[in-house]
Symmetry: C2
Subunit: 486 residues, 2 copies
């Protein structure tokens, strides 16, 4: 046998099976990372009859999912949607997600997700996740214990014309951010299912056999290096890469200055390991970016302008869509103009960049070219008084002339206030198999959650991350468990 010289040529961070003298432990399915994706993979692999070992680099499971709002994007007619009196269908959901998750959304994944969304709802409930049959009308992130809400662009032009709108945000029934409650449920289910968990265990490298594919991993567990054999497969559920500054610089420089949102373990390590084993990463430039001053929902009555004083979007779009347009196309120099009647504090620390008794004052304070903001607001107010927005088609309920001084410009003095996380990652099939650049699969390797490129190819809706992680985590776990090893 050839003797490798240090690390292996052409296999980043990957170890050859033939170089492993002894396995310290073994299992059917090895799950790397225990957030929502890893927990779901573990549960489904167990349900399929596999022995599962899950390793987590933190001292306990939870990951970025535990720090989230606990909101799922679900639809097609869930019991919660029905109880609240909203009609929905898999086809309407599909039409909406295809139109809002691009450019270049993964049609096969979106189709499967929409067709099985109701089943997924029941699976979550069966695993202890509680939703309440009540509708929250005041925004996209319920601050009460209501579950159902709109979470994206469903009601906004042009999406409202492309698919029949339905609220599809399903937040775990718990006041305020409820990702912690969600992960408590999933981790409790894991305990009941008999999944073995190794906390404080960081995966260092995958182990690859030339004939059988990925057959295990080398981990560092409480100070000791251990070789873990996976008889059927390894599931990478390690999260995204927003905390890896070098990867962000290489792949997603547009959000380099933004506020990384997610656990510090969103370090891209699983993506790097997957690449090392022959996988391909796709859409690595795609990121969510949020303008921190465009929610709550009442502020949709404001007018969002760029540094030329022009509007550039209907203000009722989802905050991530506004963020994308503002950060990428306008360089972040945008202002939300409000009057005294609609002003209210935002969720995130907002900045009032200027105040004035009229638009001329505001314009001067913001250094916007003379007569530009003035014209924009004159036109907006004239149209709004008629309940119309011929330029951008904001929904009539948000069209209120801004006429009550003082006027203010909310804004953001630095991108570091704009939350961001990554959406790209390993290219996977809907069943979780990791795909190579030339379209084959890496045998024995699966990925889900932030480590994989998922439903949101660029466009994002609240709740997509958790749904993506749990829905495709389940499939990855089940597929790994059923794998027929050569």
């Amino acid at each position: 046998m050839e003797k490798p010289e240090g690390r292996n040529v052409g296999m980043s961070e990957t170890q050859w099976a033939s170089d492993i003298a002894n396995w310290d432990d073994e299992t059917d399915v090895l799950v790397i990372g225990l957030g929502a994706a890893g927990a779901s993979a573990s549960l489904e692999a167990t349900a399929a009859g596999a022995d599962v070992l899950a390793v987590e680099c933190a001292s306990g499971g939870g990951g970025t999912s535990a720090t989230s709002h606990g909101q799922f994007y679900l639809g097609g007619g869930t019991p919660i949607q029905q109880a609240c009196g909203f009609e929905d269908s898999p086809d309407e959901m599909f039409a909406y997600l295809m139109a809002s998750c691009g450019p270049g959304p993964d049609e096969a994944k979106i189709r499967m997700f929409c067709d099985h969304s109701v089943e997924h709802f029941h699976w979550l409930v069966d695993h202890g996740v509680k939703f309440k049959a009540s509708f929250y009308a005041d925004g996209t992130d319920p601050m009460t214990d209501d579950s159902l809400s709109y979470t994206g662009n469903e009601l906004a032009h042009p999406w409202c014309e492309l698919a029949r709108p339905a609220p599809r945000g399903h937040t775990v029934a718990h006041e305020g951010p409820s990702g912690g409650r969600l992960m408590q449920s999933l981790l409790a289910a894991i305990g009941s299912a008999g999944v073995r968990v190794l906390p404080d265990t960081r995966c260092q490298t995958l182990v690859v056999d030339r004939n059988r594919g990925v057959v295990g991993a080398v981990v560092r567990s409480v100070g000791q290096q251990r070789c873990l054999r996976a008889r059927r497969g390894v599931v990478l559920a390690t999260g995204g890469f927003i905390q890896n500054a070098e990867m962000v610089a290489r792949h997603a420089p547009r959000v380099q200055a933004c506020m990384p949102t997610g656990c510090e373990t969103d370090d891209g390590s699983g993506i790097l390991m997957g690449l090392g084993a022959g996988g391909e990463a796709i859409r690595m430039e795609a990121c969510l970016v949020v303008l921190p001053f465009v929610s709550p929902i009442g502020l949709r009555r404001g007018v969002l302008v760029n540094r030329q004083g022009q509007r550039f979007v209907n203000e009722d779009v989802y905050q991530a869509r506004a963020g994308e347009l503002a950060l990428y196309a306008q360089g972040g120099e945008v202002y939300l103009i409000v009057d005294d009647a609609i002003f209210e504090p935002t969720d995130l620390p907002s900045e009032v960049l200027a105040v004035g008794e009229d638009m001329t004052e505001l314009e001067a304070a913001l250094d916007i070219p003379e007569a530009s903001l003035t014209h924009t607001l004159e036109r907006y107010n004239r149209d709004a008084a008629r309940g119309e927005d011929p330029l951008f088609h904001k929904a009539p309920q948000y069209l209120t002339p801004l006429v009550h001084p003082p006027f203010a410009a909310l804004g953001c003095s630095e991108e570091a206030r704009c939350p961001s996380f990554t959406l790209g990652g390993l290219h996977t099939k809907p069943n979780g198999e990791v795909v190579t650049p030339d379209g084959r699969i890496v045998p024995g390797l699966y990925a889900a959650g932030g480590a994989a490129a998922g439903l949101a190819a660029q466009g994002y809706n609240s709740g997509i991350s958790l749904s993506d992680a749990t829905f495709f985590g389940r499939r990855a776990g089940a597929e790994a468990a059923r794998r027929k090893v050569p």
Copy 2:
């Protein structure tokens, strides 16, 4: 030794050296692809004393470079710049390229390129490439045999304030598109240098040795499979991937509907081979896109508006910058408003989408919201009459009130009319070494030209492609030739 089962796990399109029974031919440096990058790599590897074999899948060298305008981006005080009376320095060139090639430009590459640009000019001349010491003032692509021209955003806001403008387009002295002439010169130089060339030879896969890295390639040459050994290294100079529809869909869906520009051999094959050998691809979403109706230079006096009838950019930016903003941020629905005094046919087949005696007519014909285009043009004309553009800072020489009816809107009914090519590719060091996802190098593997991510991380200037290919092709060839093999 382990016996591989079909293709190798985790190594897309890669063959193990231990599986090669006989080498059919051998050389020091094997160059894959014989466009400008491959030719330059071959010349420098030969100059460094190496035996070079270059394979080309077409029946002769040339590649996409031969179909180009034959323009190089060069500066820092070339003899042509000096003879035409323009001052320039490596630092000004560096400041400009850092500001215009991003987001996330490769600073090390840009620094090296600027510091050695004058030397590179002399190298090109020494290898038979002719430039003429005359300045072409009428646009970015000389249609005469003049060499020097502006080619990017140098004179446009905000770049003109960030770096002292200098014309850096150096077009090979030949009327009209002169890429063919350029490649004639480089291929003649290759002949004189004694480089062996195998035409009609398509590289199928790289050959990798676990200890020594990339040691050769398997090619199909005139119907026969042959194993070519490279004693020192392999240079991938295979071009970009705009002709590979699947790769474009996976990585750069924004330009899926555009007109692929480049040889049919821009099929991404070299990128895939590099990934298979352990390299990383970066900025795969980055592409040049051109609006086909914003040149020639006189049309900069037009007014570019979006479907809301708003301006969104100073019309004197380089056509690729306008294309980026128009395609990515405005969905391609943009119009160049001209009057009878400034109208002229464009280089590419242009479309007159609407004609009217005044803006009200034009507005209605384009289905732009009432009073919007009218307002935009009223303001533009008022400002232009004073020689000002407070909104977007177009340069004064292009500020002419549009007052001579009839007025027309030039546009583009489909993205298929917008030329596009890819800018992302294998991550390389400035010396051409291919970098892995975890920051090591793939021993023995080099890439340059369209196969590598180069100077243009997204922002583009005319002439960058040929300069990138030749400048970094040279370095890759020299580095491969000098490699000390373990």
